[in-house]
């Protein structure tokens, strides 16, 4: 093999090393990119969780508040009805207490 041929082979070997070295550099780029993407994915899911929890909270507690208000309104209605129904029997109850206290029972 002549000097020129040896030089050509040597040149090819150096180029081959550069190709592999470039590939290794690209590997680092791929890894860094994957890390960034992974971080973005985690942040995205966390943001989604925060948003969905807030929506869930709003829906569940609004429903609970409506149910609580309905329960209280029913109790107020029942109190008014009790008062109305009792008013006709009030006189009888007063008489009963009076009789007991005055020794008539």
């Amino acid at each position: 093999m002549s000097v020129e041929e040896l030089r050509a082979v040597r040149e090819a070997e150096l180029q081959a090393q550069r190709i592999v070295a470039d590939a290794v550099k690209e590997v680092n780029v791929v890894r860094e990119s994957a890390k960034r993407q992974a971080k973005e994915i985690v942040e995205e899911w966390r943001a989604r969780a925060a948003r969905d929890v807030e929506e869930l909270r709003s829906a569940i507690l609004s429903e609970a508040k409506r149910e609580a208000e309905r329960t209280l309104a029913e109790a107020e209605d029942r109190s008014r009805k009790l008062e109305k129904d009792a008013s006709s029997r009030r006189g009888q109850a007063i008489e009963r207490v009076m009789k007991e206290v005055l020794g008539l029972s």
Binding site: I19, A23, R31, L61, A75, L82, V97, V101, L104
Partner: protein, 206 residues
């Protein structure tokens, strides 16, 4: 350049490119795998957070509803209590007015007779308020005592603070029966509570 060397250099470069491609392919595949792992982990974390928060919110929801149920029960109990108290207040007011009416004398005699029967002594004094001391005439006392076959019934000089009724005390002072309107009212407040509640609210009593 002779053909053999050119072939050799091409082969060197082809192998290098193959190695480079393999390195990059492997790295991309590993990156993809790692990304999938991160995605699954993040999704699981999302599910865990949502499940935990849903459970917390369910407890919060139950608490809000329990509070409302307790508040409404208390509202109804307060309304009932108010009505019962109003019955007692009204009854007390009417009884107080009644003690100024002529019909009260019969009630006073009745209360005195009941007290005397409970004392179980033949010599008894009656403690009354100032107005009732004037009402209880000698005739009335004889009537009360005679009916009970008592040796002596007299009105004590000691006055009591009551709207009406009597305290009967044996001459020895050992037995004392409170049959005042105030005392009877105080007892009736407790003993009649269930009955009054049933009268007012029927099956929906306290």
């Amino acid at each position: 350049m002779p053909g053999g060397v050119e072939k050799l250099t091409r082969e060197i470069l082809r192998l290098a490119r193959e190695e480079a491609d393999a390195i990059i392919r492997k790295a991309k595949s590993e990156a993809q795998y790692a990304l999938e792992g991160s995605r699954k982990e993040a999704e699981n974390e999302y599910k865990t957070v949502l499940e935990r928060e849903r459970a917390n919110l369910e407890m919060e929801r139950q608490q809000v509803i329990s509070d409302a149920v307790l508040r409404s029960q208390s509202l109804i109990l307060e309304a009932k209590e108010k009505l019962i108290v109003s019955v007692y207040d009204e009854a007390f007011g009417r009884i107080k007015n009644f003690t100024s009416s002529p019909r009260y004398e019969d009630a006073l005699v009745r209360l005195a007779s009941q007290a005397l029967s409970m004392v179980g002594s033949s010599d008894v004094e009656l403690l009354v308020n100032e107005a009732d001391a004037k009402r209880l005439s000698q005739l009335m006392l004889r009537e009360i005592g005679g009916a009970r076959r008592l040796a002596s019934v007299k009105v004590s000089s000691t006055r009591i603070k009551a709207i009406g009724g009597v305290v009967a005390r044996s001459s020895t002072g050992k037995i004392e029966v409170d049959n005042t309107i105030d005392g009877r009212f105080s007892i009736a407040r407790n003993t009649l509570r269930t009955e009054i509640s049933k009268m007012l609210f029927g099956g929906d009593s306290v």
